[in-house]
């Protein structure tokens, strides 16, 4: 059974200037199986974040349905762990308290919270920073906290909205390695939004390529490359060339 089922989803927003509906997403069908790492790739404005927000439950589709684990999505919930574009940590909580926030909401006792948090703090490589406040962390470290926070909930799926977009190239590569290591260990399902072709091909078991205005899925490409992936290998470039041709169809047809 598919973990995430997006069926015939359309989304339109009211454009206040023109007083008309603006179609952002046009009849999207997408399946994400258990243990898949699906990268949703597209130019900015193609509605990929909107699609992710609908899976998270922050937004509702105008038409169609979104199901996670067979259940229709109606509101945000702890079965879908989200890692945001900005880390969005609670600035008044320390690292471990941020990681264990979900348990606090469930009224779990402090000692158990602390112990569980430690496991996930260690998992994302932040051992020794448990008692730091978010403002004392670098961008990469903050995102690690965000990832640990989502993992701790043991969600059905993890949703990631360009989580490494604000990081420098080197930190980003390091985070990619870590994320793959964590994903391989926890065997979770990840839906990852990005506009980086290299990032999508480095991470995903599948890459769903989207076109803009209105957003449509052009193709879902299974990525059959050995890990760790070598972004300079010929096969990697074959995939990349194919994706580029999907993203720039006009230019290719002119040639």
């Amino acid at each position: 059974m598919a973990n995430i089922e997006i069926a015939a989803v359309s989304k339109s927003f009211l454009d206040p200037r023109r007083g008309a509906d603006l179609l952002t997403l046009d009849r999207i069908d997408l399946m994400v199986e258990d243990n898949d790492f699906l990268c949703l790739l597209g130019p900015s404005g193609c509605g990929k974040s909107t699609l992710l927000n609908m899976v998270a439950g922050f937004e509702q589709p105008s038409q169609g349905s979104v199901r996670v684990g067979g259940e229709p999505v109606t509101a945000p919930g702890a079965d879908r762990g989200m890692v945001f574009q900005q880390p969005t940590l609670m600035p008044w909580l320390t690292v471990w308290q941020n990681v264990a926030f979900h348990l606090r909401l469930k009224r779990v006792g402090r000692r158990e919270r602390r112990a569980t948090a430690q496991h996930f703090v260690d998992l994302v490589g932040l051992t020794g920073f448990e008692n730091h406040y978010p403002a004392q962390l670098s961008g990469g470290m903050s995102q690690r906290v965000g990832i640990a926070r989502a993992l701790l909930m043991n969600p059905r799926v993890i949703l990631m909205d360009e989580p490494f977009g604000a990081l420098d190239e080197q930190t980003k590569m390091e985070m990619h390695g870590e994320l793959i290591r964590i994903w391989e260990r926890s065997r979770g399902t990840i839906l990852f939004v990005t506009h980086g072709i290299d990032e999508a091909l480095t991470l995903g078991t599948h890459v769903a390529v989207m076109s803009a205005r209105p957003g449509r899925i052009r193709e879902v490409i299974p990525v059959d490359l050995p890990r760790p992936r070598d972004i300079t290998s010929p096969r990697f470039n074959d995939y990349k060339r194919h994706i580029l041709s999907l993203l720039r169809p006009d230019e290719v047809s002119v040639r």
Partner: protein, 265 residues
């Protein structure tokens, strides 16, 4: 120069200039008493040293406590109501529509203009003063609480919802802590108004406290005692602000580590 020593030159210099002017005889000594005279009267008011403050000799603690009690009672009430209603208005559209127009209409009315009604309603005692203190402190606390909730980052609320928070948990665990810096700003403005209004009330509607001594001494042309009362009010106001700042440093310690404030702490 050591850091804490820098606090002294400015006030000490001002006192010296003042003392010199008083002693020069430029003005009659009764109209501009020298700091030394004020200090002597103040000392008698507090410790009953030489009887120079006459009926008030040794009575300071009682007067100060009377004022302090009114401030604390009115201020505590204002904090409780201001924070609760402010968070409510900031969080809920319904509460906002119901309560805000009325409150915003009451807000521009100066608290002192309530004095006649306060006396009619509560008589001449603690209660009109507490009522005025409440009015003075309530609105700054309210406004800042509303503001603090409204500027709470929507993404933090989203993150909370994602982790399974109910509406009341969002309010308690995210919106309220996020609003705390702003709430404290309101509390600090409020404590200033609280002292102002206690003294005003004591001049008109109460027969005890520092403000009463101040006004009474004015009738008896004891400007040294007027000044001693002013200094007492200043001192107590300053101390209550320090207390608030200390509380803030504990509650908002996550800010101290990362802001300009932390650099000077």
């Amino acid at each position: 120069m050591r850091h804490y020593l820098r606090r002294f030159p400015v006030p000490l210099g001002l006192l010296a200039v003042w003392e010199a002017i008083s002693r020069s005889g430029l003005l009659p000594a009764a109209l501009l008493p020298a700091p030394s005279t004020v200090l002597a009267s103040w000392a008698d008011w507090i410790f009953a040293t030489d009887g120079s403050s006459q009926t008030y000799s040794g009575h300071w603690l009682t007067d100060a406590m009377a004022s302090l009690w009114r401030v604390l009672a009115g201020y505590a009430l204002a904090s409780l109501c201001g924070i609760a209603i402010g968070v409510g208005i900031g969080w809920s559209r319904i509460i906002e529509t119901l309560a805000e127009p009325t409150l915003q209409m009451l807000r521009p009315i100066p608290p002192v203009s309530w004095i006649p009604l306060a006396i009619i309603w509560f008589g001449i005692a603690d209660r009109p003063a507490i009522f005025l203190v409440f009015l003075g402190a309530f609105f700054p606390i309210l406004m800042n609480a509303i503001h603090g909730v409204k500027i709470c980052d929507r993404n933090l609320v989203r993150a909370g919802a994602m982790m399974g928070a109910s509406q009341s948990q969002l309010l308690r665990h995210i919106v309220f802590p996020a609003a705390l810096p702003s709430i404290f700003a309101g509390l600090r403005i409020g404590i200033g108004s609280a002292w102002m209004l206690t003294v005003t009330a004591e001049m008109v509607a109460v027969k005890s406290g520092l403000g009463y001594v101040l006004w009474d001494s004015y009738y008896f042309i004891r400007y040294d005692l007027v000044m001693a009362a002013m200094a007492s009010i200043g001192l107590l106001g300053y101390l209550s602000d320090i207390g608030l700042k200390m509380l803030m440093r504990v509650v908002l310690r996550w800010q101290v580590a990362t802001t300009v404030q932390g650099r000077t702490a």
